[in-house]
Symmetry: C2
Subunit: 393 residues, 2 copies
């Protein structure tokens, strides 16, 4: 049995092979760049007016001849002469000879000319070519997360496709004779199988929206071995639920060993989720999770989520951890790290919820955080600060 | 011109018609229940062993006859006699006559019998039928957000479909003669149109992953009117970018008025995004956003995002706002609320980034927060606490 921090250390120190793929920017939200992106254009691509107003060559003069109009999108460049001004709009091409744009609010039109009430400083209201970025410059570096702003920025540079780290291929294997699919009347002695649906949703929260392969197997060594073999060949990450305890019908550990998956740890000093198993075969990482739904989900958020984020190329891989004041007294006589389903208020106080048993999911559905009570901590007092893992949404 | 808080108040006080739809639980992550859900089964559906061990009727005796095995998933109920015990596994049916399960670690097998070293308290290690929830009880209330735990919980109750609030149908109209689609060489005087791609990604961050209709229109009153009319008929929420300023070719305001969209506000005392316009026609809300990408995105996060969350049925509609210590001095002589692209560190300090101009997107791509400096605040000192909006991811 190892500690939670040791288990996290083993997981975080796995060297992963990050595969790259080229995707359309339209499909790249939340992905991480696997290559630097250089701009192929200047941005702005030309000298641009930042205002609706009048472009001219700055002087002490107040009266100018109005000669031309430069609307946004107009490609013609007017050649401006002395004491001439051009009517111009935001985003439009500024004539080469002009160095200043006067706001329309500071000008009065006088027949074919204009009179300036308030001349701005020279060079005002012009966005210089390449002011934001120049052709050949780096736009975003490898490792940048593609948020909406990044997607907007790259699109304005004309980028259509980007190289990103591929999300891991995930397989789920659910074990247990008692498990029945939803959609038919429950047989005596059976329960509805929910771990695969729940894990699929949790994977979706972690950005894995497609390609998750799910298999179900009864408590039988040979079938379990075959399913594991099958999924090991196709996946980067294999999540197994159930069958990892010490019962006579728990075949997962043996089936993993028979498939040459190396055990990296088995059993963590925590509650829930003590019988967590983690191992690896070649480039595939394997978690054998307990069978109780709440244990499955807690192990997912604490251990699986960071590994997925690492595969996706993220620097910060863990779910956000914050310190909050606890509204209840929390004794911990177990000597284990305990994870408690909890609600963090908008004021930043955290309250453990009723129903902490690992078979109980109702409380989990209402939680937005997990309180982490460290193994060495025997008591959290009311008002004491405690570490919490924030859950989505 | 109105204040930011007044603008938010007007948006938040819009009465929205929330439509309901029935969806598969598999497609419901992040949706909000529009009806209470009642359980049709007891959970557990039968008396279940919580351990691998031996089920028996509790007594002072230490020796029992071993008569039967109850594996998980087995539907047969053994009728237990006096001084008999049944081998049992986690999740399996407990015989009616048994009231206690003894952990296998506390028992020694002796031929056909067993000897108990350590008898637990009566009723130990049995999950009673309906202990988690009983048939007819409420499982989750209207308004609950369907996170992975909720999806797991409902699946284990046999639920397949749920009634949720429908996400709003969104239309995007992008205006501007200077805008060119990516994929061809940039013409002189043109820039690549990026606002629609960026808004689509921002909508995706807000859970609107499909059905977004995008139209582009040149700076022409009649075409703008027609596009707006077309989108008003099909959408709950219409986002327009550009054409809302005071230039001779800004036709959006007039086209909205001609389409009988009632103006609820125009111009907000803020930077960026001053010319923000908000209105409504029947059940459709309309934002006319400025044209500069950074203004568009800031207005989206501050004003559009909360309205979308309200439509989706969320109680907390705003992006998370936190207080952080500012690492730089921030003067604000403008008398406006200013939103600054910024990076919050893991220590919770916030640093405004270089390049705050509303045409600059590079900085935005690297931001994870917006600092909000209130209009009445002339100076934020180094180390002073300031409100920040946290951005995804």
């Amino acid at each position: 049995m190892i500690s939670v921090s040791k288990a996290l250390h083993i997981i975080n120190s796995q060297a992963l092979i990050l595969r790259e793929e080229e995707v359309s920017l339209n499909d790249a939200l939340g992905a991480v760049l696997s290559k630097d992106i250089f701009s192929t254009i200047n941005m702005p691509p030309f000298r641009q007016s930042a205002m609706d107003g009048y472009a001219l060559k700055w002087s002490e003069e107040t009266d100018y001849q109005l000669t031309y109009e430069s609307q946004a999108g107009n490609a013609n460049l007017y050649s401006l002469k002395e004491k001439e001004a051009v009517r111009i709009f935001t985003g439009a091409l500024v004539p080469d000879e002009a160095d200043t744009v006067v706001m329309q609010e500071h000008v009065e039109q006088t027949g074919k000319g204009l009179s300036i009430h308030k001349m701005p400083s020279k060079y005002a209201n012009i966005r210089e070519m390449g002011e934001q970025i120049q052709a050949g410059d780096i736009a975003l570096q490898k490792g940048a997360v593609l948020n909406a702003a990044a997607i907007g920025f790259l699109t304005c540079l004309g980028v259509q496709n980007v190289s990103v780290y591929q999300r891991p291929k995930v397989g789920i294997l659910v074990t247990g004779n008692e498990l029945q699919s939803v959609g038919s009347l429950l047989r005596k002695g059976s329960v509805y199988e929910s771990n695969s649906t729940m894990l699929k949703a949790a994977l979706q929260e972690a950005g894995i929206t497609e390609g998750v392969e799910i298999l179900r197997v009864s408590d039988d060594l040979e079938s379990t071995k075959t399913c594991i073999k099958n999924l090991l060949e196709k996946t980067d990450l294999l999540l197994i639920s159930g069958g990892i305890s010490v019962g006579d019908y728990d075949f997962v550990k043996e089936a993993l060993t028979d498939n040459q998956v190396d055990e990296l740890f088995y059993k963590v000093n925590q509650k829930p989720g003590k019988p967590l198993w983690f191992g690896r075969k070649d480039s595939t990482c394997v978690f054998a999770l307990p069978g109780n739904p709440a244990s499955v989900l807690t192990c997912f958020y604490v251990y699986v989520y960071p590994l997925i984020q690492k595969w996706k190329g993220y620097q910060n891989t863990s779910l956000e951890r914050i310190i909050a004041r606890c509204t209840s007294k929390l004794p911990n006589k177990s000597g284990k790290t305990i994870f408690l389903k909890a609600a963090i208020s908008q004021k930043g106080e955290v309250t453990p919820l009723q129903g902490q048993s690992s078979a109980m999911m109702h409380t989990y559905a209402l939680s937005n955080a997990l309180i982490c009570v460290p193994e060495e901590k025997e008591l959290i007092e009311v008002g004491e600060e405690v570490e919490c893992i924030k859950l989505t949404p």
